[in-house]
Structures are given as C-alpha cells and as structure tokens.
C-alpha cells in the first residue's frame, strides 16, 4: 500500500516532551487512521453477526476477541461449537492455526522491545496479530528505540478494543443488515488474510506453502477427520520446505 510514511506519528521534532505517554497516544492516533484497522473492524463486525446467527453466546465471543485475538482461531472455536466437537480437538486445531504467531512474535519482538522487561514483552506479545504485526513493520523503523513499546501498545489497544466494539456492533446489527452485506463482512477474513500472505511471500518456500495449503483443503474435505488442519500444515509445509531445500542445494 502506498501511503505517506510515518503515518500518524509526528516527526520527533514536533513535540518537545517525549515521554512514553506521548508515544502511546501517537500509537493510538496511528491506529485510528490505519486502513488496516478499518478492514480489521469490518471483519469483526462480520464475526459478531456470525456468532448471533449460529447461537454462540455474545459474552464468550467478546472474551475471545480480547483473550484469543486471532480471527481465524475464533472462527475455528465457533465452528467447533456449532459442530459439537470435543474440546481437545478444537484446542489442537486452534493451536495449529496459531503456530504462526511463533515466527511472527519472534521476528517483531527484537524491533519493538527497546529496553523493556520480560513482563512487558510477554504482555505485548499477546497483542501481536496479523494487523498489529503488519502496521508495526510499516511504522516502527523511524521511531527511536524506547518509543516503540509505548507506541505499539497505543496502536494495538486501538485494534483490540475497536475490534471488541466491532464484535458487539456486528451482534447488534445481525439480522438488520442486508443478507448479502453480512456475507461480505464474513468474507473479509479469508480474502484479507490471503492477500496478506501473498504480500508477505518472498521466497519460493512461502509461495509453495501457500499453494499446497490451499490445494490440500479440498483433498482433506473428502478424507475428513478432526486432524485435517494438522495434516494440511505438516504435509503442505513439509513438502514446500523439501522442494525449497532441494532447489537451494541445486543452485
């Protein structure tokens, strides 16, 4: 996306007192004007509408936005609830879909941690999801080291609590929105995640893992079984890794 750089964060010379509080509020402002945030909130409006349609309790849905903070995982939970899946099966599917946070957090934490302590870093890691991760990579580089953690908390709190409000709004709007529009809101999650994966794909392995993962879905839809996501990840990712490794060795 081509947008003015340093979006929402004033140049350091603009305000004299550079306390953590100042950086926190600059992060808040960056979150409010973020295009990423608008797509995110619309997706959570869709989620709020969906949970009302399928009879998932509102309180549990709001709690999931705060505690889980990963829309695909939340959709797996609701899907498991509807299907009556046993808790360990849902936990395994969610865990597998959340493995991606390991490389995501591990790659962003050295950038934002500054001189903050372990407790602060653990708390910050909970707020890392695709949205905050993408915006951090875009906005952090020009900021001084110790500004980054408060800026990150400002930004990600806007995303989380905006999404809680959006979940609630979606719940209230369910049934009043035209059906096609409600479908469009639920559709935001797969299309925005797919395009973000495409944007982040740099090497052959990334492209192959993405392609294999998608192609294996109809295959495992035929086979069925509770562990299909696990197999899609391991087979698709493993095959992509092996092909990529083989190509590297030949080169």
């Amino acid at each position: 996306m081509t947008e003015p750089e340093n979006n929402g964060a004033l140049p350091p010379s603009a305000a004299p007192p550079e306390t953590p509080r100042v950086w926190f509020w600059r992060g808040v402002r960056a979150g409010i004007v973020s295009v990423q945030g608008i797509v995110l909130f619309a997706g959570f409006i869709g989620f709020g509408g969906l949970i009302r349609d399928v009879g998932f309790p509102l309180g549990a849905a709001l709690l999931s936005t705060i505690l889980v903070w990963a829309l695909p995982a939340q959709l797996i939970i609701v899907g498991g609830f509807v299907a009556g899946s046993p808790l360990p099966v849902v936990a395994l599917a969610v865990g597998l879909s959340s493995v991606r946070f390991f490389p995501m957090v591990a790659s962003i934490m050295p950038t934002i941690r500054g001189s903050s302590g372990l407790g602060t870093q653990l708390l910050a890691s909970h707020f890392v999801a695709v949205s905050a991760w993408v915006e951090s990579i875009r906005l952090m580089p020009p900021l001084p080291g110790n500004a980054r953690m408060p800026f990150f908390f400002g930004l990600s709190n806007v995303f989380v609590f905006g999404s809680v409000a959006a979940t609630f709004a979606g719940y209230l709007l369910a049934g009043t929105l035209p059906q096609a529009l409600a479908n469009g809101l639920v559709f935001l999650t797969p299309i925005s995640f797919l395009l973000q994966l495409i944007r982040n794909a740099r090497e052959l392995i990334d492209w192959l893992a993405l392609l294999f993962g998608l192609l294996l879905v109809p295959v495992f839809a035929q086979v069925g079984g509770a562990l299909d996501l696990l197999w899609i990840g391991l087979i698709g990712g493993g095959a992509a890794y092996l092909v990529g490794r083989f190509r590297r060795k030949k080169a």
Partner: protein
C-alpha cells in the same frame, strides 16, 4: 450448570481451546526471541508449516464456511477470491484494493445468484 451446558461450553472453549493454545506460542516466541536465529533451518520449516496451515484455514473459510455464507454458491466464492487476487496485482499490490474488488464481487454475487 453442567459441563454439557452449551453456554458454559462456549466459555470453556474460548479459554481452554482458544486463549491457552494461542498465547502459548506468543509467550514461547518471546522467551526464544533472544537466542533465535532468523535464518535457522528449524524456523524456515516452522514458518512453512505455519503458512500452509493458515492457507488451510483460509481455504476452509471459503470452501466450507460456517453460517450463512455457505448459502452463496461456491463458484461465486471462488470467483470473488480470484478477482480479489487479480485486483491486488493490478492495483500495484494493494491489499486494500484487492479486498475491495473481492467484496464487490461477493456482495454482488450474493445479491444476484443466491
């Protein structure tokens, strides 16, 4: 309330099957991020598995969605994804442009073909 109470079960799912298995990876990543080597082979494999898995989640949201979206014909859903990806590349790799193209396609398709 018993464990078979569906409302209570929803909360248990959120905490035990949602919060715990998600944040365990976030917390583990913080602990390991000090000594982790960005280029290590293990991390390359983990990232590939994570990418394929997320692609699997995306694929399932399109092929077998939960709720009302399932009423929109499959070819509309697949076509909207294809148009969104095409829009992304046509508009200088803009995620927002791709999302907007796909949304116009899916909402339009839902109005006329369901």
């Amino acid at each position: 309330m018993s464990l078979s109470d569906p409302m209570l079960y929803a909360y248990l799912l959120v905490i035990l099957a949602g919060f715990l298995p998600t944040d365990v990876f976030r917390f583990a990543a913080v602990m390991f991020s000090r000594r982790i080597d960005e280029d290590s082979e293990a991390l390359v494999l983990v990232r590939a598995v994570a990418t394929a898995l997320l692609a699997g989640v995306i694929g399932r949201l399109v092929l077998a969605p939960t709720g009302d979206l399932a009423g929109v014909p499959l070819w509309i859903r697949l076509g909207s994804i294809a148009l969104g990806v095409a829009g992304y590349f046509l508009f200088r790799k803009s995620v927002l442009a791709g999302v907007i193209v796909a949304e116009i396609a899916i909402v339009g398709g839902a109005v006329y073909f369901r």
